[in-house]
Symmetry: C2
Subunit: 370 residues, 2 copies
C-alpha cells in the first residue's frame, strides 16, 4: 500500500493539525515524535521496550547503516524491519545530514558527495540515486530525499546555491525511486534562515511533488526564534493533504511550537542522549538525577508518569545507578524520557481533537520548569 | 521464617543432591546458579528480565553497596529488596573478598580490616561485627560470614593462620547476628589448597554451627583439578541437612563438577562479563559473536534456546550490535548467557531427579565444544 496522509481535523483554537499517516507497517497518529535508532537500535531498548513508550514509528540513519553493518547485510536479512525485528513503521534519513556533518572528510559536487568513513577512513561516494537505492534496500516505510543541510550561519549566496542543488537532487531522487507502492519518498525544504529562499524551496519542492514534505536545516545552532520564523514562512506553502516533518527537532517547547505551526512529525536524539547523562524529562521539568538532593528521595521520577521506570523505581535508586555508571540507569531514563515525550504528544493530539491546544500548552508550561 | 534447606533426593547414579532452600522471599530449587548484581543491579537487566532468565536468587556485594550508595541510603529505602525492587531471594557476600582484593589499599588485623575506597580513597574499617550489621541493614535472605579469602598460591603457614582467623571471625559473626529469623548466616570454609586445613576448617566451622556452609577461596587462579580436590576433601565433612555454596564459581564445566560433588549453590560474574565482550554460551559451546563468519548468519544464537534473544534476533544482528558497541547487544547476550546457565541448572536438577546426571553430563559435553 502507498503511504498516505489523512487529515482528520484542525484545532479551532490554534490551527494545529490532527491526522493519520497510513503506512505498510501500520497507522501513525499525528502529530508524532519519532525515537531515533541510529544504528538499527534505539539505544539500550528492545522493540518491546520501544513500543511500551508509546512509539508508533522510529527513525534510523542511512549513513550509519551503510557504513555498518553495510547495505548487503541488511539486504540479505530481508530489510531493516527484519534485521532489527521491528514490525512497526520506520523512517530513514537519506544520509545527507550525516555525510555533511563529516566536515573535512567530505567533498560535495553536483553529482554527489565523496566522503571518508568516520570508522575506518575508507573512501565512499553517494549520489542522490545511491541514497534512494540504499533506502530501497533498507525497506523503510518513509525514505528521505538526499539534500544538503545548509549550515548555520550561511551567507545568502551559499544558502541559495545549496537550496537550488537540493532541488535538483530532489528531482533526481524522485526519478530514481521506483518502489513507490511500499515506500514514500519525502522531499526536503531548505533555504537557511532566509524567508524568500525557504518559500522558493517549498514551492519548487511541492512542484516536483512528494507524498510528504520535510523541513530541514533547522535546529542546527540558530536561536529558536529563527526556527519558528522559518516554519512560519514555509508551512503556508505546503499542501494540506500531505504530511509535514520537522527534522531533528524534539525539545518539548519546540514540539509544541512546531505543532502549533502545523507540523505533523518530529525526531530527535535529545531524549535518549540526555538520559545517558542522567537527565530526565518530567511533568515538572528536567530532573538532573545525580543531584545530591535525590540521594534519599524514594519517590518516583515523575509522580504523574505511568511508565515502567516510574512505577517500579525511586529517584534514589536511579541516582545510584547513574552515579555507578550502570547501564540499567540509562536504560530506565531513556525509556522514561521517550514515554514522557510520546505521552505529551498524545496529550497534544487529544487537545487538538478538543480544540484546546493553546489551553493545554498553558497548563503544561505552568508546571514544566526549564 | 528462618531459612531452611530441605533435602529432596540424592542422584543414585552420581550422589548429587536435589533440594529446596526455603527463604523469606521464596523457595530456591537447588542446585542453583545465582546471577551477580554487584551494585544492586544485574548489569543491564531489570528485575523482570532477571526473572525471565529463570533466576531464583541473586547475589549482591556488600562492599560495593557499603561504598555506594552507602548503607544509610539502603536502610532508608527499607532494605536492598525494596531499593532495587527485587522481591525474590538475595544473598549478599560479607565484603571480605572485595576488601582483600584491594591489595595495597587494605590492612588485615585481628580486629578487622582497614581499607581505602576504590572510588575516592577514603579510609574505612570493617570488623566481622560490622559486616554482619551492614548485611542486617541490607536485609538479604542469606548473609555471609566475614572471612579472609586465602590467596593462591599461599604457603602452608599463611593458609593455616588465615584459616584460623576466619574461624575466629566466624564465631564473632555468629555472635553478632541476631536477626536469625529473617536472615540466614552461612559460614565459610577456607584452608587454601591444603586438604588437612580444608578438613579442619570444615569441621570447626560446622562445630560453630550455621544454617548453611560456603566453600571459599577457590576459583582464585588455581588449576581446576585443585578446586575439585578441595571439594572432595571438604564436602564429606559438611552436614547433609544444610545448603552448600561454592563461592565465585560458574563456568559450565565447574557447575557440573560441583554438583557431582554435592554442591547446591553457585555464583559467578562470568556469564554477564563475557556477554559484554560479545561471547555467548550456547548448547554447542562458546560463540564469539564478533567473528566474521557470523556477518551474514541469520540463524539464532542457539537454535535449541528458547530465550528472548534467541527467539527474536539473529547472530548477524547481535554481531552488528556488539561491533557497534550498542548497549542492546550486551543486554541481549547477558540475558541469553544467564538463561542458558539457568536452563542447564534446571536440566541438571531434572537429571538428578531421574538418577541420570552422569548420562546428562555426557550428553551435554558431547555437543558443547570449548
Amino acid at each position: 500500500m502507498a503511504v498516505r496522509y489523512e487529515h482528520i481535523k484542525t484545532c479551532k483554537q490554534t490551527g494545529a493539525r490532527l491526522g493519520r499517516l497510513h503506512t505498510p507497517h501500520g497507522i501513525i497518529e499525528t502529530p508524532i515524535f519519532m525515537p531515533v535508532g541510529t544504528q538499527a537500535t534505539v539505544k539500550s531498548l528492545t522493540p518491546e521496550d520501544i513500543k511500551s513508550t508509546g512509539a508508533q514509528v522510529i527513525l534510523s540513519n542511512t549513513y550509519h547503516l551503510y557504513i555498518r553493518p553495510g547495505t548487503e547485510v541488511i539486504k540479505k536479512a530481508g530489510g531493516l524491519h527484519k534485521f532489527m525485528n521491528w514490525d512497526m513503521p520506520i523512517l530513514t534519513d537519506s544520509g545527507g545530514y550525516q555525510v555533511f556533518s563529516l566536515g573535512d572528510l567530505r567533498r560535495i559536487e553536483e553529482e554527489g558527495v565523496t566522503f571518508r568513513s568516520h570508522l575506518d577512513g575508507s573512501k565512499h561516494f553517494i549520489s542522490p540515486e545511491d541514497a534512494i537505492k540504499i533506502q530501497n534496500i533498507l525497506g523503510s516505510d518513509i525514505i528521505m530525499a538526499f539534500d544538503e543541510c545548509t549550515p548555520y550561519p550561511a551567507d545568502y549566496q551559499y544558502a541559495k546555491k545549496s537550496m537550488e542543488r537540493t532541488l535538483r537532487w530532489a528531482q533526481r531522487c524522485k526519478d530514481a525511486h521506483t518502489n513507490t507502492q511500499n515506500q514514500a519518498l519525502f522531499g526536503i525544504v531548505q533555504g537557511g534562515m532566509y524567508d524568500d529562499l525557504r518559500v522558493e524551496s517549498a514551492k519548487e519542492t511541492v512542484k516536483i511533488g512528494f507524498p510528504g514534505y520535510a523541513i530541514g536545516g533547522l535546529s542546527v545552532g540558530e536561536p529558536k526564534e529563527l526556527m519558528y520564523k522559518a516554519l512560519d514562512a514555509v508551512v503556508p506553502h505546503l499542501p494540506e493533504d500531505k504530511a509535514r516533518y520537522l527534522m531533528g527537532v524534539g525539545s518539548i517547547d519546540a514540539l509544541f511550537e512546531g505543532v502549533l505551526r502545523g507540523i505533523d512529525m518530529f525526531d530527535c536524539v535529545l531524549q535518549t542522549r540526555i538520559a545517558r547523562n542522567g537527565t530526565a524529562m518530567t511533568s515538572s521539568g528536567k530532573v538532573v538525577i545525580k543531584n545530591a538532593k535525590y540521594e534519599m528521595d524514594f519517590s518516583p521520577l515523575d509522580p504523574e508518569c505511568d511508565c515502567y521506570t516510574c512505577k517500579n523505581f525511586t529517584k534514589a535508586y536511579l541516582r545510584h545507578l547513574i552515579k555507578a555508571n550502570e547501564i540499567l540507569g540509562l536504560r530506565l531514563l531513556s525509556s522514561h524520557n521517550l514515554h514522557f515525550t510520546l505521552k505529551t504528544m498524545g496529550n497534544i493530539r487529544k487537545a487538538i481533537l478538543e480544540d484546546r491546544l493553546a489551553d493545554y500548552k498553558d497548563e503544561f508550561f505552568n508546571k514544566y520548569r526549564y
